[in-house]
Amino acid sequence: MGEGEAKRRALGLVLDLVVLSVAVGVAYAAVTPRDRYFDIRGANMVGIAATYHSSASRGYAVELEVEGAWYAGGSFKASGRVVYADSKRLVLFDPQKGVLVLSDEFDRPYVNGVPSRILMRIGRPGGVVRIDALIPSETIEPDSLESLCTVPERFEGVEACLVSATVGVWMEESNVTIPASLIQDVAAGRRGIIEVETAGNEILVKMRFVPAGDSSALLRRIVEILEREGVAVKGLISGPIQLTVLTDAATVNADAVGGALREIGAERIKVRYEG
């Protein structure tokens, strides 16, 4: 074998090794779990919700970075975890800014902002535990929902305790005496309100992941306004209440929180690890 032939063979071997290394690398990257990013432009709420739900159902943690416009004007940047997404709205929990309702419904005053770009990071579950508990409506009066959070908030490392429910104010008289826009404006002052309907003798408020203090404060404020306007309230109505507790996985024992929630009447407790 000549010297040239030997060199060619050596070069061939080196090339084979390079190709093999690349193939092994690609195969390794494909099977190793890693973070994935979805860059979603515009306010495509259905696409965002579908990506969130399909990722969450596979056990991934979903974190978001959002750029958009405030409802009141001006731009914003927020980041945090998705706590709720449906075909019209996205509820984001930003540790700095709190609960934000994002939607493409520009005409609803309780929408905090309209997203223009969303970077969705989907990764392995990590240091946050989300505990969802369902509490029957008979357990508590609608105007004292915040008391539900006093028990879980006793645990150290609890990031947030959020309340979701549909509540209603049933009036003695028809609400023609109170402008619907007034009720909408009162609701806009609170975070996590996704729908307010005023019709006939009723006001219906859909709350999704409202900070505990805000949940009953809104109802009390509406009742106070109605009474000052001379409209008597016949009753307050509530559907089943969902309590969501976000905790630090390292410091809080999820089972202990679940046990405490059961003591206050919670049913169907679900624990999920997030990023």
């Binding site: 259905v46 579908a50 449906d86 075909s87 019209k88 009723e202 219906l204």
Partner: protein
């Protein structure tokens, strides 16, 4: 001479080709109006397609990938049960969704349910459905109506073909009207609770100058007990005696029943007391 024969044969062959092409084009034209298979993202387009084919007596089935307004991902196969101006009622896994998309310019005055990312529709002509119309009946809550629907279901199931059953009806009563007018019932709350808990659509209709009545559209019959318990929770006792009218029971079979099975089902259903008529059809149109 030989070349003349070849020329004639070529002419005949060309004629055959032209006739075949003409028949083919005519066949395709006819079928083009009776066949649809495709994906849509817009609820309004879906409603248009459904209305077009349903009005010509064809059924549609397919799959939906979308997000429910209550925040759940829907990824199911099913069929179009009904359609309105700009909405379709899509049944999947025993549930009934109203399909709306956020890009719709025309909206029916109905609660939005599922916004589709992809809706696959296909005309399905190999279908047999049964529409049963019932005479009005007095019912306490929904007791008597539920018994009557169960009676129809029992008879249909004796035919031996698996099926799903949906009910549409209206409810009216003097006590009910009085209770709503007298503010004894939080009617919007009731409407919202039923639409959250039950399939199909629940509405109340009326005003201070017209009698109130309740409308139930395309509800899976398994949800009637749930609807009854919600009505009992909110309606005062003297408002629960109501007249159920305009009752239509829609039966969707898993496979088309044979001629013998159809005859047996038709005879058994028609002989039930209170059945106004029963008819087999490809699509519900009346």
């Amino acid at each position: 001479m030989e070349s003349d024969r070849a020329l004639r044969l070529l002419g005949v062959a060309l004629d055959v080709l032209v006739v075949t092409a003409a028949v083919g084009v005519a066949y395709m034209k006819v079928n083009a109006h009776s066949y649809y298979r495709g994906d849509v993202r817009s609820g309004q387009s879906a409603a248009y397609i459904a209305n077009f084919y349903r009005s010509r007596g064809y059924s549609l089935r397919g799959g939906i990938l979308g997000v429910h307004v209550n925040g759940t991902l829907i990824n199911s196969t099913g069929f179009v049960l009904d359609s309105a101006r700009a909405t379709i009622y899509f049944s999947a896994g025993g549930d009934v969704f109203l399909v709306y998309s956020s890009d719709q310019k025309v909206r029916d005055p109905l609660p939005q349910e599922v916004d589709p990312l992809r809706l696959t529709l296909r005309v399905d002509r190999n279908v047999d459905r049964l529409l049963v119309s019932l005479d009005p009946l007095w019912t306490d809550g929904l007791d008597d109506l539920i018994s009557k629907v169960e009676e129809v279901a029992g008879v249909v199931s004796s035919g031996g073909v698996d099926y799903e059953l949906f009910v549409s009806f209206k409810l009216h009563g003097g006590g009910l009207s009085e209770a709503i007018r007298g503010n004894e019932v939080p009617i919007y709350w009731l409407q919202s609770e039923v639409n959250e808990e039950c399939s199909g659509l629940f509405l109340f209709v009326g005003s201070t100058v017209a009698p109130f009545y309740l409308v139930v559209e395309n509800m899976n019959w398994r949800d009637l007990t749930k609807l009854d318990s919600i009505l009992r929770k909110w309606l005062p006792a003297d408002a629960r005696e109501m007249l159920a009218y305009d009752i239509r029971v829609k039966v969707v079979f898993d496979r088309p029943p044979s001629a013998g099975e159809k005859a047996a089902i038709y005879e058994a259903v028609s002989s039930l007391e209170g059945v106004r008529y029963a008819k087999f059809m490809v699509e519900f149109r009346g």
